[in-house]
Amino acid sequence: MVMQSAGTGIESQVASIVDGMRDMEGPLLPILHEVQEEFGYVPQEALPVIAKALNLSRAEVYGVVSFYHDYRKEPAGRHVLKVCQAESCQSMGSDEVAARFKQALGIGFHQTTPDGRVTLEPVYCLGMCACSPAAMLDGEVIGRIDAARVDEIIAEVRR
């Protein structure tokens, strides 16, 4: 077995993702989604590989990565907790919900707990406006969150 350094490993994995998707119409976003799915973030090393394959400049690819809120520059925590902060949830006390999460985890929005367990993020609408306030934990939606539910969620992510 040939051991590869981390850098070339990322590059070859990205290259194989790009290879399978480059014939799509408008392939860049689907490729970036796939890269993030694979690594948990979009590694810097991926950009030149994608740029070259799609005949774009590296700056163009970087511009796209940095434009969209979803693409991460570094891996997230093991759990990603997104707390809705949009109007419907505001009307049902999302400020208090967010404050309770922040206090329990000891971090603010866009931060990860030092043990790498949880990343906390604001989100502007999950389409759960008929069961506000809402949040999403690792892709699963949770509605009508009250103080007790916050504590349950915290216990779950600490487990």
Binding site: M24, E25, G26, P27, L28, L29, P30, L32, H33, L54, G63, V64, F67, Y68, H69, D70, Y71, K82, A86, E87, S88, C89, Q90, S91, M92, V123, Y124, C125, L126, G127, M128, C129, A130, C131, S132, A134, M136, G139, E140, V141, I142, G143, R144
Partner: protein
């Protein structure tokens, strides 16, 4: 006959524990040795009753809700599989007042059928529109849609048929149908419900749009915040392709149409149609200057129909029942029905499809039942983050594009977010500016810079620094943003800000006075 149990798989129902209820029901069936068919339907839209479980009985469907997993055992004990009496029993769901008062055209099947059963879909009237369209000439289809009076349900209210005609009249060989499912407005969830609860109606609508305009390729662009909807649409597209509803020979018409589902990446501005097109092309979601219209130069520079989910999902019934049938509903120039989404601090939240014309007061007080907290309603934001805040004084405004415009508001995507008297309207106005600053694509100055200056000015106002000057400044700034911005993000952010300022001036008093009053 094997009993059929319907447990919503809609993500709103999941958020309230539908999967746990389903697991409890499966476990109970196993323990009791009962064989039953479980269908994961969409939601009918009464979220105050979710998870709402239904059973098919000889006398029709019987509903129970809202069901908690701990109540499942008692439901079995009460014989709910044959419609037995129980404290959660709601009877025939169609007769529940929240549903009985609705006119369901676009959402006729949502929450009723198995979203992934084409057989179920057809049995409930699905594919009839596409079958008719397949036998019609493109211009005939376009004329039908034009005559129905259908206007864009995304918010702009532009006549759908005219958009289609423009694309039909272009002679490019490559044309596109793009479905804008980037439903980012808070207070709205109609697109999500259709995608999860009746995805075939949207596919059918897009296929009809393809046959009508000569477009052979469609894209559905939706939000990464909607993973369940994405999965549902992808699964439904696969099924439709296998059934030859999509592909080189749509329903035996000899004409081709296929589609792909694409996922956004968390940019609100991509709900703006030209930013959405740039995003689909793999670029930053920057707004384009119009003209050229997308109908002339849209996706990849080709003629493109770009319509909202609800517009496209309303097309099949128009083709099936005819333009006159659809046009018969509504008022003034707002024809047909509109799925109103009642959200926020409200007792009976949910989706309520009805003909245009109900007043805001009827929606909030009668249908919505007032606030969830039981406190008085202070303000209602209609049309998402870019919609105006309405005070109770304007509750007589009928739900109609023109009537709302006349009161300096907009219907938008028909989301209604209710706030009780604890809302601070200065804070809401500041949030509108802040949201615009976070989500601005940065192309035009009024939106990019104006939103940040707006936050600063409102912060000064909150701190009580020269309040009269700040109010004058924010008014002037809103005027600049409204008329100088390239798209609705910067152009409509003044709606929530100015409506809050106009209707709730007491919340904009200097801080010392506000504190003294508390």
């Amino acid at each position: 006959m094997k009993p059929v149990i319907y447990i919503p798989g809609d993500s709103g129902a999941l958020a309230l524990g539908a999967d746990k209820v389903a697991a409890a029901i499966s476990a109970e069936l196993k323990e009791r040795g009962i064989e039953a068919k479980i269908v994961r339907n969409g939601s009918r839209g009464a979220y105050f009753l979710e998870p709402m479980v239904e059973v098919g009985t000889d006398a029709g469907r019987v509903a129970y809700g809202p069901v908690r997993p701990s109540q499942v055992k008692s439901l079995f004990d009460a014989g709910f599989l044959t419609g037995g009496a129980h404290e959660l029993a709601l009877g025939d769901p169609e007769k529940i007042p929240f549903f009985a008062r609705q006119t369901r055209l676009t959402f006729a099947r949502c929450g009723i059928i198995d979203p992934f059963s084409l057989e179920d879909y057809e049995r409930h009237g699905g594919l009839a529109g596409l079958r008719k369209a397949a036998a019609m000439a493109p211009l005939e289809i376009v004329t039908e849609v034009t005559e129905s009076g259908l206007r864009g349900r995304g918010g702009a209210g532009f006549p759908t048929g005219i958009k289609w005609k423009t694309v039909l009249d272009t002679d490019d060989v490559r044309k596109y149908i793009v479905c804008n499912a980037d439903e980012g407005d808070s207070g709205t969830f109609a697109d999500r419900m259709i995608m999860e609860g009746d995805p075939f109606v949207l596919i059918e609508g897009m296929a009809i749009a393809g046959l009508a305009t000569g477009a052979t390729k469609g894209f559905l662009y939706t939000r990464s915040e909607y993973p369940h909807a994405i999965a549902a649409m992808r699964r439904a597209v696969e099924i439709a392709r296998r059934a030859k509803i999509l592909g080189p020979d749509v329903m035996g018409s000899g004409r081709a149409f296929d589609m792909e589902v694409r996922e956004g990446a968390g940019a609100y501005v991509c709900g703006e149609e030209t930013a959405l097109l740039d995003s689909l092309e793999g670029k930053r979601g920057m707004v384009r200057a119009k003209p050229p219209l997308p109908a002339h130069k849209g996706l990849f520079g080709k003629p493109t129909v770009i319509n909202n989910v609800i517009s496209l999902a309303s097309v099949p019934i128009i083709l099936d029942k005819g333009a006159a049938y659809y046009k018969d509903f509504g008022m003034g120039r707002s024809r047909g029905t509109i799925p109103i989404q009642i959200a926020g601090n409200i007792r009976y939240p949910g989706l309520f499809e009805t003909a245009f014309g109900l007043t805001l007061g009827e929606i909030v007080d009668d249908i919505g039942g007032g606030t969830a907290t039981g406190r008085p309603v202070k303000a209602v934001q209609v049309g998402g983050p870019l919609g105006a805040y309405f005070p109770r004084d304007l509750f007589d405004t009928p739900f109609d594009y023109e009537a709302f415009a006349a009161k300096d508001g907009l219907i938008g995507h028909a989301g209604i977010t209710v706030f009780d008297d604890s809302a601070d309207m200065l804070k809401q106005a500041r949030f509108a500016m802040e949201f615009c600053a976070i989500e601005s694509c940065g192309k035009c100055t009024p939106c990019r810079i104006g939103s940040t200056r707006g936050v600063e000015v409102l912060d000064k106002l909150a701190a009580g620094i020269a309040p009269d000057t700040q109010i004058e400044l924010v008014t002037d700034l809103c005027n600049t943003m409204k008329f100088g911005s390239l798209c609705a993000l910067g152009g409509f952010t003044p709606y929530p800000v100015m409506s809050a300022l106009t209707h709730f001036p007491e919340d904009f008093r200097p801080a010392p006075m506000r504190e003294a009053a508390e």
